[in-house]
Amino acid sequence: MSYIEVRNLKKNFVVKKKREKGKLLREKETVKALKDLSFSVDEGELVGYIGPNGAGKSTTVKILSGILTPDDGEVSVGGIVPWKERKRHVKNIGVVFGQRSQLWWDVPIIDSFKLLKDIYRIPDKAYEERLGELILALDLEDFIRTPLRLLSLGQRMRAELCGSLLHRPGLLFLDEPTIGLDAVSKLALRDFLKWENKEYGTTIMLTTHDMEDIAALCSRVMVLGHGQKLFDGKLPDLLERFDTVRNVSVKYADGDPCLKLPEGVMTKKTEDGLELSYEPAKLPTAQLLSILQDAGNIRELTLQPENTDHLIAAMYKELDL
């Protein structure tokens, strides 16, 4: 059995509609947040979990972390049913909510860590060891005695990560960890997560809207939409499936030659060369390249994959999300 097992998970929410004029009671509406979701994750995997807003990502994470009780279905994390044995389960997980902090606003973050030590009943020695390690890995030394409210967004996120990893959880949930961070902080954060995953085999499940996070970190990606799983596999496979249009720019040494291209390839002349866009499904890349090579003396050629964000947008559109 895998580390995380999810079978036929269902969760509905009853939402009260706005009161209509002339009616005494508000009507209720059932929203199916998750309909029949199944997947499994092995120990040590780094899984990206994506989908548009309202797809059911947060609901899944909240059920897996024991906050919500599902209506139907089975979940087991390391052999424990989260909502049945909440305390035993959460001892071994760490959760970072992108928007809400678990550290204290007005006191130095080191004091928040000390409190977390008591909450998780971490022995003194283990705590000192782990804290020292995390301070180094996350570069917290400079602001460990500063109250949270005086920290920058990037520093805050690093502190949050430290807080949720002090008790050495085997499973870490990250909810949009890079939201609002600058480029340097993002890169540092990704490096840290990779390190933590490699060093301790921590299983990480990451929800995000940032495709670069996924590309940099996750060996596996799951796409959720309308409460269902739409894709589960490697990122390149996902991209390939929806990678409908690609761009090539080419520069010739001695003037643009006249190209004989099959139908469906768009050509655009730019200042110092040509830009072509083609559909790999209809015209294999190798075939296009040989046509270009035969036409003249190539000085420079770049193959650009479509921007991942565009791809995802195209995918959501195609899947009618």
Binding site: F13, N53, G54, K57, S58, K62, S65, G66, I67, L68, T69, W83, R86, K87, R88, V90, K91, I93, V95, F97, Q99, R100, S101, Q102, W104, W105, D106, V107, D111, S112, K114, L115, D118, I119, Y120, R121, P147
Partner: protein, 266 residues
Amino acid sequence: MNTLRLYIRSMGMLLRSHLQYTSSFIMQTIAQLVMEGGEMMAVILIVDRFQSLKRWTGGNLYFFFGMMAVSFYFTELFGRGITGDFPSMVRSGRLDTFLVRPRGVLTQVMCAGADPRRISCIAVGIVALIIGSDLSGIVWSPLKVLVLIEAIVMSCLLILGLFMIEAIFSIFSVKSVELVNAITYGGRSACQYPIDVFPLALRMLFTVVAPFALTLHVPASWILGKPLYGWPWWSAIVTPFSGVMVFGFMSVLFHLALRHYRSTGS
């Protein structure tokens, strides 16, 4: 033991958080002092005009007032998480962070809120207790001291239990502040006077539903040497335990409600 240490450390951190805004903290503490002083002033003015309330002397009235003030504001001091902050913990998603930690939710809620400004209200209550005891000529014995402490602790638990009604409602995202106020703050207003001066309906409400009569009035009356309803002396020791019963019952309901918690926001 570990839980106690956690609680004490949390309280220390809360106090330090409050002291980050020193002038505001002092100002608010003074405001609380004046506010509770004003409440006591009303009792003093009543005693000045009427001298007594049925069989209770002015001194007795101060004693009852002090008992209620000390109980109520100790609850607010140490149980602010339940008596005030819980609905906003639900709204802001802080409850989610409690749920992903290996500790009781109620423990964490209690650890997350304290209102040290109430210390001034408690001071007023203690002054009222001392004046009341002196004017009533209470002869203190170790047993009476124990019963007094028991009554205050049990009343605190009762008040916490009553405020948990609001907490439970807010888990279901139902706004109920006004109605719950009637029984909590209303209970304080009514039960700072001896219960037997009120008509039957109110007496029933505060004996059966929100048993301030049992946790506070029965022992206080016995200490004053005027047993309530002529009940035997041991009732003063037994009846206050209804406070811990209400608290226990509400805790069970609270945990049942958490099973139906639907965390808001994405």
